[in-house]
């Protein structure tokens, strides 16, 4: 095909596009509007900001609904005015009208009305800011530390809640319902942002700073969240979940988290898995109570291999439903659905049952152990680690054999 033929075809195509814009604007606008409506009708949207499940989120919701309405009305008026002007004063070759300057009454009106609207909005907004910043009514404290690309939660000693020794976990934050929980949020590497839409707004996790965020849930259940500050390669996979349990169930959870380490029975696959863990995983992952063959505590040293200086503590891994920064479910879809969709009265029992062997998501867990960077984007190639002095961001490829993986899975299943 000659150059001129291409030229003519392209020009014909562009002309047809131009005609479509010119003659079918209703169809175009209708398609776009329909797409928006259909998109907004998503069911089971676990991170819907319009469905508060706790008093803090309700405070925000009570502010954002009227403001959204006011902003929507103003936006519609402006849009309608713009469309009217575009159509009414379209260039049809008519002479340019006389140009004038200054309409004091109109300008003052158009300044005062928005200023009044914003002043009213500001009054209520400041009220909400101060309400959400309260810390003197705190009933429980949880420290939250973000790093690429997972969240760590540690519970300081709070004897009145049964926490007599520090608890540390990751991926899923567990708290009692009807309790004013104060998160003390920081970061080990870059800026992250903690957000459980159903329970409160966002709070940045900034290295070197401790920022607070109130959480309180009305009902037992799982509340999903997502890191909302771009933090590197796997930012999109940095999820988190908050688990709200009844106070009785929470006490059970606390007791389990403080229970002593139970080594697997001798001459079992799990016992062999413990050896693999000691040889490979304990370089970064801590299991409280785990000892080496000589009886000394096996203390992980993630600061020697990981840029953030930390890796998830796996002491009670199988009491959680997720792993790898909550990117993967630790339980199969059916078992997970049973927990997610459980009614309030049985939710706690189902969650506290932990991960049983028949419910374990073997596929994702094995894929993770086989080659973690292949299933979650992480900086694992040594050539990419110059900026961090050779330290990994995320979990590296460990070249484990299938035999080792079988043993490890058996061992991890014992970490209830």
């Amino acid at each position: 095909m000659t150059h001129s033929a291409w030229h003519i075809r392209l020009q014909t195509f562009l002309t047809s596009v131009r005609r479509m814009f010119a003659h079918k604007p209703k169809a175009l606008v209708g398609t776009l509007a329909g797409s928006l409506v259909v998109g907004s009708c998503a069911r089971n949207a676990s991170q819907d900001t319009w469905q508060p499940k706790g008093p803090n989120a309700e405070i925000i919701d009570n502010l954002q609904q009227p403001i959204f309405a006011v902003a929507g009305i103003v936006g519609l008026i402006v849009a309608a005015a713009v469309v009217y002007c575009v159509i009414k004063f379209k260039d049809r070759g008519q002479p340019i009208p006389e140009q004038t300057h200054g309409k004091p009454a109109l300008e003052i009106t158009l300044t005062i009305i928005p200023a009044l609207i914003l002043a009213v909005v500001a009054v209520f907004t400041f009220g909400v800011i101060f309400k959400l910043a309260k810390t003197d009514d705190t009933e429980m404290i949880i420290n939250v530390t973000g790093q690429q690309w997972w969240w760590e939660y540690d519970y300081p000693v709070q004897t009145e809640l049964g926490i007599v020794q520090p608890i540390i976990t990751s991926g899923q934050l567990v708290m009692p319902v009807g309790t004013k929980v104060l998160l003390r949020i920081t970061s080990r590497d870059v800026i992250h942002s903690y957000w459980i839409p159903a329970l409160n707004g966002k709070r940045d996790a900034v290295p070197g700073r401790v920022q607070t965020l109130r959480l309180e849930a009305d009902e037992p259940g799982i509340y999903a969240g997502q890191c909302t500050e771009f933090c590197g390669l796997s930012h999109a996979n940095m999820r988190m979940e908050t688990i709200a349990l009844s106070k009785e169930d929470f006490a059970t959870w606390v007791a389990n988290q403080q229970s002593k380490y139970v080594a697997p029975a001798e001459e079992t696959l799990a016992k062999q898995g413990e050896s693999v863990f000691l040889n490979q995983c304990v370089r970064c992952h801590q299991v409280n109570g785990l000892t080496r063959a000589d009886g000394t505590p096996a203390i992980a040293a993630p600061d020697e291999s990981v840029w953030s200086g930390a890796a998830p503590n796996l002491t009670h891994l199988m009491s959680r439903n997720t792993f790898a920064g909550a990117m993967f479910d630790l339980v199969s879809k059916q078992c997970r659905d049973e927990v997610w969709h459980a009614t309030s009265d049985v939710f706690g029992a189902k969650y506290l049952a932990g991960v049983k062997e028949e419910c374990l998501n073997q596929k994702d867990l094995r894929a993770w152990l086989r080659n973690a960077p292949a299933v979650k984007p992480m900086y694992s190639n040594p050539t990419q680690l110059e900026a961090t002095g050779g330290k990994y961001r995320g979990m590296p490829y460990l070249a484990l054999s299938e035999d080792d993986i079988n043993k490890l899975v058996a061992y991890l299943l014992t970490l209830k």
Partner: protein, 372 residues
């Protein structure tokens, strides 16, 4: 025929597509480049579409005129060659020179191309000049303004670092007052001659730049030189003070005070921790592992004291394999004063070491530091 704007943006779109394909083929990790190029493709394609619909927004397109045959004089080849020289010299000297050369070269080539194109836009030199300005001024003015402001701000910082504190404060007030007075004059006399306004701004900027050059030649004021030679306020020693040159009000910044892990108070011989969220004073604080954590020591006694943090042990690299305690501490803190301290602990408390905070010279008072 296609409009000039359409040709430009369709070219940019296609070039971006080619760059994206090349980056996918050549690079291992294309997350950042891929995102940037994809956004560029979307943006330029959108603009291409808009230009097709609006025909460059040109309702009264002039008849195409014959172009000027004689190119005008241009300084851009000279600037481009200087950029190329910097680029080559930077390859063997420093990356700053190299990237400076790259920036100069790209800017000069872009200016040169646009100038060449605009000179052939029509036979009317005035029209050609307008076309060039319409395209490049939106880029040139902000860039030049940023560069000019950068030079002025940098010069001002040199002045402030060279004079003593009280003179610096006075200068700041004077400069600030002059800016406000100048701005007020311009506001109440909008019909002032542009040349006069420009002259005032230029002379003001030149004065600051000259002051900056003079300040640089004088060097930093004495205490800054001293502080830098001693590690710039780090003062890691826990022994006797080595210098009077440290910032006794280091914790005066709101940003630090609002984001600390805990405030350690020493009052009536008692050491307690105030932790946000806990209503009562605590005898322990929790510090995440491997995380820089700021605390404030508040001395409410009548004498000077310092807080000492025992952060474990590290192996001595010497022959005998001994261990050495890791101690960090505040400066001697005056009565009623505050000092900030940053803790970073790599091993959990379960490793068997008892981390704690104490006050030097005071027995029986400690805050346990728990590392989960």
């Amino acid at each position: 025929m296609f409009s000039a704007g359409f040709k430009y943006f369709i070219g940019l779109t296609l070039l971006s597509v080619v760059a994206l394909i090349m980056s996918i083929v050549v690079l291992d990790q294309v997350a950042l480049a891929g995102t940037a190029l994809s956004m560029l493709i979307v943006a330029s394609a959108l603009l291409t579409g808009l230009l097709v619909v609006t025909r460059d927004g040109d309702t009264q397109r002039p008849q195409s005129a014959s172009t000027s045959e004689v190119p005008g004089q241009s300084m851009w080849p000279l600037v481009a060659s200087i950029g190329a020289v910097f680029l080559v010299v930077g390859l063997v000297t420093s990356s700053v020179v190299f990237f400076g050369g790259v920036v100069v070269l790209i800017a000069a080539l872009a200016e040169w191309m646009v100038q060449s194109w605009s000179e052939r836009a029509s036979s009317d030199a005035g029209y050609n000049s307008v076309v060039r300005k319409r395209l490049l001024n939106p880029i040139e003015f902000p860039v030049l303004a940023a560069l000019g402001l950068g030079v002025v701000i940098f010069s001002f910082s040199r002045i402030m670092l060279s004079v003593d504190r009280s003179t610096g404060a006075s200068l700041f007030i004077v400069f600030g007052a002059l800016v406000i007075i100048g701005g007020t004059l311009f506001a109440i006399k909008p019909d002032i001659k542009r040349s006069l306004g420009a002259a005032i701004c230029v002379f003001g900027a030149l004065g600051i730049v000259a002051g900056g050059i003079a300040g640089s030649s004088f060097g930093l004021r004495e205490e800054l030189v001293k502080a830098r030679s001693e590690g710039h306020f780090s003062h890691p020693e826990c022994g006797a003070e080595r210098s009077k040159y440290f910032d006794k009000n280091a914790t005066g910044t709101l940003s630090l005070r609002s984001s600390i892990n805990a405030t350690i108070e020493f009052v009536n011989g008692q050491l307690t921790a105030r932790v946000v969220g806990f209503s009562k004073p605590q005898k322990s604080i929790t510090v995440p592992r491997s995380t820089p954590t700021n605390i404030i020591f508040r001395n409410l006694e009548t004498d000077e004291f310092r807080l000492v943090a025992d952060l474990g042990e590290k192996s001595d690299t010497g022959t005998y394999g001994d261990t050495e305690k890791i101690l960090v501490c505040t400066q001697m803190t005056v009565a009623g004063g505050e000092q900030e301290l940053t803790l970073q602990i790599e091993k959990p408390s379960s490793s068997g070491y008892s981390y704690n905070l104490t006050v030097a010279g005071v027995e029986g008072q400690r805050i346990e530091v728990v590392v989960p």
